[in-house]
Amino acid sequence: MNHPLPPETSDRPLAPGQRLAPSARATLSPGCVREIQALATKYPDKLAATLPALYLAQADLGFAGLEAMKEVARVLEIPEGHVFGVATFYTMFHQKPVGKFHLQVCTNLCCALRGGAQLFEKLCARLAVTPGEVSPDGMWSVEEVECLGSCGTGPCLQVNHEVYDEFLDTAKLDAVISACRQGNVPVWGK
């Protein structure tokens, strides 16, 4: 196609040959393995445990990289390819490490109408991070996300998949950042 502007980058599935980031640890903790095994009998079919198991593995290893996927497949005794397909389909499984505080800002239309896009830029500037990367000290990562279901109370920010911070403005943004710095927000995976 002959387009003067490149398409905007987005979180596309991995390109052939692209490597996933390695985890610090190759195996899950025994507690996590037990929790995943318990999941296998919770649903009518053990395949259904794939998503919840990936959440557990992600919390245990920090992100859902290749090791986490292989471990889930091993514990649940399901094909590795299936787990890979699932983990790369859903955006809430992160294939590379995130910061101790993973901040997600909704910039979809409803939030954007109330300044979501500007707040996202401000957040990136304040923390000196680029979306998709972790800050050098390992503290922060930011992500622009699609609708969080907070349209009436937007703009909306979610830290580490927890309860939302709504009606976000510059003052609230600072309050959230300082709350994270002071350790008042649970860190990623805890």
Partner: protein, 456 residues
């Protein structure tokens, strides 16, 4: 029990006159009170589980009959009659005993929609009661609540509420002495908008990629785990206890003929009081936007309204008086959808708004059907170059030739949904697109809607 939400909620749920006969409060009882969700509050203050006790004394078929009589239509977007949907479930025969499932679609991801969240936050037991009644009517053995992954605290809350219901004997073995067993499980999605489509949801519930299935077979024949399944929206299921309590005929008297009952409308965007307003179907849109939500917050004129979640075609000012029900909206060329009303004032660049929505669809397309996967990305690229001053003279014709090739040519309605905003914007605000192509800049001087970072 997990951690239950502790942050205060500043959402608006009420208005003057709410809770009277004219504007009955069925769905938002106690909304705003963070302790409202407990079973004792639901039982003592909101007539909780009375409908279930009534339903369990009735034949399953007459429960379905009551829902049919109420005229309840699915609140998720399509507006399909709920009672009729329930009758599609196969009955047990001597040769074959079915394992039937009921699934609640709580994957609320449509931009502009935030109603289900309030129900699960403040009245999870109303949803649970609705699911038990639905399960009784269809004789299901297990129910699932599929919640979007971002609502983690609501998963914890629902788990706690389900446990409360189990302890009270409303769930589990031999429910209220009827000898009937039923239980509920929650399932957390992982951030895919497409899983709001019922067959994609079922795939996701089975632990697969959330790709819509080929229909037929419909879920009522072959749904979750290969068994007959009915998928209903949160608001639909939460309406069922109300119907059983006041009676199908009384429920049908609310609203307009063929569009009965109340529904929760979420108003967002450029209004003074964004929030959730429960209104009888058929209430005019300008009453909601101007009288309840206070009109435009910037003092400027309202340019466009998206009436039912971002997938519905947008309306311009000549249609702001449209009654908000499924049929009237359809007659005006849009759809009532999920009840999310997005208000945009004069300063909004329609091209950029449409670009933002198209970017969403391009990002959320599951990639299964070529027209949607390639088409949405192509639309995004064309809109992107128009918005950024590189539009070519033939671009609008290009868009107009693209959308019919996506619309109705995909397995699920995501492709159709992506075309709705573009087609309607091109029809109603064509001059803005033309201005962009000709002058390389916006027709209006509003704040930007897309960030310069632009990375998902």
């Amino acid at each position: 029990m997990g951690q239950i939400r502790t942050k205060p909620d500043s959402q608006i749920y009420t208005f003057e006159g709410f809770g009277t006969d004219k504007f009955p409060n069925f769905m938002l009882r106690g909304a705003g009170n963070l302790r409202n969700w407990h079973i004792h509050n639901y039982e003592q203050r909101h007539e909780g589980y009375e409908a279930l006790k009534k339903a369990l004394k009735m034949e399953p078929a007459s429960v379905t009959g009551e829902v049919k009589a109420s005229g309840l239509r699915g609140r998720g977007g399509a507006g399909f009659p709920t009672g009729l949907k329930w009758t599609f479930m196969p009955k047990d025969t001597d040769e074959r005993k079915h394992t039937r499932y009921v699934v609640c679609n709580a994957d609320e991801g449509e931009p502009g929609t935030f109603k289900d969240r309030a129900i699960m936050e403040y009245n999870p037991h109303q949803l649970i009661e609705g699911m038990i009644i639905a399960a009784w009517a269809m004789q299901c053995s297990l129910g699932f609540i599929y919640i979007r992954g971002e609502f983690k605290w609501l998963v914890d809350k629902l788990d706690a509420a389900i446990q409360e219901a189990r302890d009270a004997g409303y769930l589990g073995k031999n429910i209220l002495g009827t000898g009937w067993d039923f239980d509920l499980l929650t399932y957390r999605g992982a951030g895919a908008y497409i899983c709001g489509e019922e067959t994609a949801l079922l795939n996701s519930l089975e632990g697969r990629r959330g790709e819509p299935r080929v229909k037929p077979p419909f879920p009522a024949t072959k749904g979750a785990f290969g068994q007959p399944t009915t998928v209903n929206n949160v608001e639909t299921l939460a309406s069922v206890p109300v119907i059983l309590r006041i009676g199908g005929a009384a429920y049908a008297a609310i609203g307009t003929p063929n569009n009965t009952g109340t529904r929760i409308f979420g108003v967002s965007g450029h209004v003074k009081r964004p929030g959730l307003y429960e209104l009888p179907l058929g209430t005019p849109m300008d009453f909601l936007v101007n009288d309840l939500a206070g009109g435009c917050n910037s003092g400027r004129k309202i340019k466009a309204i998206i009436p039912g979640g971002c997938s519905s075609p947008m309306l311009d000012e000549k249609d702001f008086d449209c009654p908000m029900d499924f049929d009237a909206m359809k007659a005006r060329g849009t759809m009532a959808g999920s009840g999310g009303v997005i208000v945009m004032d004069e300063n909004v660049c329609i091209v950029e708004a449409v670009l933002r929505l198209t970017r969403f669809y391009a990002h959320e397309s599951c990639g299964q059907c070529t027209p949607c996967r390639e088409g949405c990305n192509w639309l995004e690229m064309v809109l992107h170059r128009i918005e950024h001053g590189a539009g070519k003279p033939g671009d609008l014709e290009l868009i107009a030739s693209l959308t019919p090739r996506i619309n109705m040519r995909t397995l699920c309605p995501l492709g159709d949904a992506a075309c709705g905003p573009i087609d309607s914007a091109l029809e109603k605000f064509r001059h803005e697109f033309e201005h962009h192509i000709e002058h390389k800049t916006c027709f209006v001087k509003g704040a930007k809607l897309t960030s310069a970072m632009g990375v998902h």
